[in-house]
């Protein structure tokens, strides 16, 4: 019935384009006094609800009055206000335009709303005209000025579209209900999101929709997602649970719950199960805490809050973990990012320096737009609008992007979706591809042309992702079985600081983000095993790459060896470089934990140079390592230093890479 009514209303809106304003008077309706009386009654009822802000209640009686007389400016304007507040934008603007046509002065605020309507249609020029006509005394004047700036931005930038494909990610994720807040692991293989869908024993919240709950799905092939499933153990089912952020490896999650005014919770995945979420007391206040994200190393949480002392409505803050694993006092990110308006839905990219967020304070196309900022030289850069069509004249928020910056996800309400808000995937295509026009000229009179003029198009470069995604599996070297709970420690070996430490999951897997511009030492260890080390010296200019590893751990047993990959010497010398300290301390820890263990520390070289020279050099190097351990307290009788020269290569000496592998220090259990 409602649909039929709406259809009739639409037709009336369309057909009666050139009517005059008709009041609800006897003179206007001399032959239908009964209808007029009913209509006036409906109108009065609707206006009463409207004045109380009860838009849903006001809608029906106003619509009934409209069926009697669709040509009343005031009634059309009131229906506009109803539907606009009920977020029925397209229907609301029809009423607005009709009201304006019937009487451009029906309400002092109509020019402001006409500006909104034009801006929503990307008619920025007209929108600016309407905004400039908003009276100085109007409560919307300041907002109109802000929206004018947005329109100017829109005019200048709408032509420079971001090259991308935007697609609904399908009905394994999206339903007829609202789905939003997508978060993905850095490699894009798993997605968590919030949904207000129906399920068994689902309960309704006060707004008449089901409570928010957290779901997940895994990639099941090329761009396909497996059917989504509710996450066990973290949804409380009696109230809202909305996922906000996850760590790079997907082992920790930030959750929003509607406790008080809205608080943030944290949960950790042990094995395959999520622990009970705990409130983050250091962050939560009486204000509204929402939208949060982890930094790439899991040691900082960025979140949004409307607490006092900010720059506007919601601001973005950060809290950093101390050495004891406690979250520190939040600090506001400052007024480069935060505005007198709203900043929300923050996401920290795994490159360790890029932040995405939505705002209705920075210049945009209208409503909330998504912005990006980078931390460079100790400060955040001026946020940049991601551009059309990622941003639109509507509200665009909850944006996340994979480590390689090629795939983004966000939620939007669009025609053609499954219903309500859906999650969409954005495939970024990168800067505009190169094209060049050709024009040939006959430069010399009487001679055939041979000159091309190339006019190249301008390219708008998009900053490439500068990080290495390290994806590994830890297995037993003998059985090849995965080792769950292996410790993975990541160091900056130049600064000799530990960056992060976590465990492999129950399938022995782990996922790390290594932002470019650091010399990393990786140490993987498990109880009963010798540790394994790797070195990743990633220059600042290195762009996105994925490194896959299978780490084989040897059990602690006589005869087992490890290569100490983070021991470095000066060229052609036996002088230890400072970057070696971390690894040497790991050896010390291992020997301390196994007091009966006796080891051989051996030096090896490539085949450049004489045998005698290399034997001597490798011996000296082994002795230097032994000396370090002696000085730390390991007894001499537990260690033996040997120099093998190039007698025991582990790789070819025909290539640079092979020779680099052969130049090494080894640790072998001899007793």
């Amino acid at each position: 019935m409602k649909k039929i009514l709406l259809t009739i209303v639409s037709m009336m809106l369309t057909l009666a384009a050139y009517s005059q304003n008709i009041e609800f008077t006897k003179e206007a309706f001399p032959n239908d006094k009964k209808g007029l009386k009913e209509a006036k009654k409906n109108m009065a009822e609707g206006e009463k609800f409207l004045s109380e802000g009860l838009f849903r209640e006001a809608y029906e009686p106003l619509l009934k009055a409209y069926m009697f007389n669709p040509n009343n400016a005031k009634l059309n304007y009131e229906l506009f206000k109803c539907t606009y507040n009920l977020k029925k934008e397209s229907e609301s603007f029809s009423y607005l335009n009709r009201a304006y046509t019937l009487d451009p002065n029906v309400d002092p605020d109509i020019t402001y709303y006409k500006g909104l309507e034009r801006q929503a249609s990307y008619d920025f020029e007209k929108a600016i005209e309407f905004y400039s006509a908003v009276p100085a005394s109007s409560k919307w004047k300041k907002t109109a000025e802000k929206r004018t700036r947005d329109c100017l931005f829109g005019q200048n930038s709408i032509g420079k579209q971001v090259r991308c494909f935007i697609d609904n990610i399908g009905n394994n994720i999206n339903t007829q209900y609202d789905e939003y807040n997508p978060v993905v692991t850095a490699d894009g293989r798993m997605i968590y999101f919030t949904s207000r869908r129906a399920y068994k024993k689902a309960k309704y919240s006060d707004d008449g929709n089901f409570f928010e709950n957290i779901f997940y799905s895994k990639q099941s092939g090329d761009d396909n997602w497996a059917p989504s499933v509710m996450v066990d153990g973290i949804n409380n089912l009696k109230d809202h649970d909305a996922v906000q952020g996850i760590t790079v490896d997907g082992r920790k999650m930030l959750i929003y719950r509607a406790d008080g005014n809205g608080d943030l919770y944290e949960t950790t995945k042990k094995g395959s199960k999520w622990e009970k979420p705990k409130a983050i007391k250091a962050i939560n206040t009486d204000a509204h805490e929402t939208s949060a994200t982890y930094s790439y190393d899991g040691k900082t949480i960025y979140f949004c809050s409307d607490r006092k002392g900010g720059y506007g409505e919601h601001d973005i803050y950060r809290s950093t973990m101390d050495a004891k694993g406690r979250w520190g006092k939040p600090e506001n990110l400052g007024d480069v990012i935060n505005t007198p308006y709203d900043e929300k839905s923050v996401f920290a990219h795994p490159d360790g320096k890029t932040l995405y967020f939505c705002s209705d304070g920075h210049p945009g196309y209208g409503g909330y737009d998504i912005f990006v900022t980078t931390f460079v030289n100790g400060a955040w850069t001026e946020p940049v609008n991601l551009g059309y069509p990622v941003n639109t004249s509507g509200n665009d928020a909850y944006f996340v992007i994979t480590a390689d910056k090629r795939t983004g996800y966000y939620s939007s309400k669009q025609v053609g979706g499954q219903g309500g808000y859906d999650i969409y995937k954005i495939a970024f295509l990168g800067p505009e591809k190169e094209f060049a026009y050709r024009a040939e000229n006959d430069l010399i009179d009487g001679v055939e042309s041979f000159v091309d003029i190339d006019i190249k198009n301008e390219q708008v470069p998009i900053e490439e992702s500068r990080l290495t995604l390290l994806r590994g599996t830890v297995v037993d070297a003998d059985t090849k079985e995965p080792i769950a709970g292996a410790n993975i420690d990541l160091y900056d070996i130049v600064e000799n600081i530990q960056l992060l430490s976590f465990e492999s999951d129950d399938e022995g897997r782990f996922l790390l983000s290594l932002p470019s511009g650091r010399n990393y030492g990786e140490n993987i260890n498990a109880s009963g095993y010798l540790f394994h080390s790797e070195n990743f010296n990633i220059p600042d200019t290195a762009t996105y790459q994925v490194v896959e590893q299978v780490i084989e751990l040897n059990k602690i047993a006589v005869g087992k060896s490890i290569v100490l990959n983070n021991i470095f010497f000066d060229f052609d010398k036996a002088t230890l470089k400072p970057e070696s300290i971390m690894e040497l301390d790991k050896v010390y820890d291992l020997m301390t934990a196994n007091p009966e263990m006796k080891v051989e520390l051996s030096g090896h070289t490539d085949n450049k140079g004489t045998a005698a020279y290399n034997k001597n050099l490798s011996m000296q190097r082994a002795q230097v390592v032994m000396k370090y351990l002696l000085n730390k307290g390991i007894k001499k009788n537990r260690m033996k230093a040997v120099g093998y020269g190039f007698d025991r290569p582990i790789d070819t000496n025909e290539t640079d890479e092979g020779r680099a592998h052969n130049r090494r220090t080894e640790f072998t259990i001899i007793d």
């Binding site: 090259r163 494909f165 295509l429 990168g430 591809k433 190169e434 094209f435 060049a436 026009y437 050709r438 024009a439 040939e440 000229n441 006959d442 430069l443 010399i444 009179d445 009487g446 001679v447 042309s449 091309d452 003029i453 006019i455």
Partner: protein, 352 residues
């Protein structure tokens, strides 16, 4: 008696005087040089009356008379050159030189140069011009001709110097200003190029000159001026298809893609296989998201020019936007194999 004697004496003396005059009046025979000249003059008249064959015969006779008289050789060489009998032309000129002819040697060498030009003997042509200019440093035409050779050889500085010398020595044609403008252009002196192209246009409003000036405006970002000049070129010669193409490019530069497409289409109506216009129209279609039409144009451009790597790359770029990733990769790979490094980057970036 005395009177009769005197009258007789007078008659005798007078008769003898008369006889003497008769003896003086015996005509002197004409010299071979004079004959040669007369024959040459006749040949010249016959040549001007379009009787070149008979003129040649006359010239041969003139040369027989006096082999050192150079004018017949030059006219003979000219006639032979016009008949495209280049070996004969070369022989005639060489004969003149071998006979020790010394007059108009600069012209002789200039004629050599023209003959070598016709037979594409560039080195010989240039050598002949150099010799001509050695003999006569004011031979404007020779500078101009040598300037063209230098331009074609990519020596734009030398070409510019020659063109300027040509102008300084009386060559004042539209062509020389156009060509000097082109030298400036190749040397990056756009403002000087504009000046010279304008001088060329002032002397002769030729489509080619307008197009050359238009292209300079395009390079300077003055697209409206470029469009005006291309339009003038079209007015001067409605069949000068390159003007439509150039104007289309200028309009595309202004973002007026529909108008640009119209111009490219007009160009292609005249020259359906003109790959520049096909490629340009393909790009313009891409800009307005008419991807299928864009691909069609690049397909045609590839058929016309199968070894142009850029066209493959562009087609790949369009296929990417059509979500034909496999097609895009294939085209970028092909473009890369034809030496387009940018396409190689595209291919590697998108292989996953």
């Amino acid at each position: 008696m005395k009177k009769i004697f005197l009258i007789g004496l007078l008659v005798f003396v007078g008769a003898n005087c008369l006889r003497a005059q008769d003896t003086l009046k015996v005509e002197a025979k004409p010299t071979t040089n004079e004959v040669a000249r007369r024959l040459y003059n006749q040949a010249f008249e016959l040549y001007n009356a379009n009787s070149s064959d008979v003129a040649l015969q006359m010239l041969d006779k003139s040369i027989e008379m006096d082999g050192t008289f150079c004018e017949p050789y030059l006219l003979k060489a000219r006639i032979q050159h016009e008949k495209h009998d280049y070996p004969a032309t070369e022989n005639t000129l060489k004969s003149y030189l071998s006979k020790g002819g010394t007059r108009a040697l600069d012209t002789v060498y200039f004629l050599f140069a023209k003959m070598y030009s016709e037979t594409s003997k560039v080195a010989e042509e240039k050598a002949a011009l150099n010799k001509c200019l050695e003999l006569n440093s004011g031979y404007g035409e020779a500078y101009y001709t040598r300037g063209i050779i230098n331009f074609e050889q990519g020596d734009f500085e030398a070409s510019l110097a020659d063109m300027t010398s040509a102008i300084d020595n009386g060559v004042n044609t539209a062509a020389v200003y156009n060509d000097r403008g082109s030298c400036h252009r190749m040397l990056g002196n756009m403002k000087d190029a504009l000046v010279d192209y304008t001088k060329a246009i002032e002397r002769e409003p030729k489509a080619m000159y307008y197009c050359n000036r238009a292209s300079i405006y395009s390079k300077l970002g003055q697209d409206d001026d470029a469009i005006n000049d291309y339009t003038q070129a079209i007015i001067a010669d409605s069949k000068y298809y390159k003007a439509y193409n150039g104007r289309g490019v200028a309009k595309a530069h202004q973002g007026k893609y529909d108008d640009a497409i119209n111009d490219f289409t007009l160009c292609l109506d005249m020259e359906p296989s003109y790959t520049s216009a096909l490629s340009n129209r393909g790009i313009a279609y891409y800009k307005i998201h008419e991807f299928a039409k864009s691909v069609d144009d690049f397909d045609a451009a590839i058929r016309a020019e199968p070894h142009n790597g850029n066209t493959y790359m562009y087609r790949g770029n369009v296929k990417e936007m059509m979500r034909d990733k496999q097609g895009a990769l294939e085209d970028w790979k092909k473009a890369s194999s034809l030496g387009i490094k940018t396409a190689d980057k595209y291919f590697k970036d998108n292989c996953n």
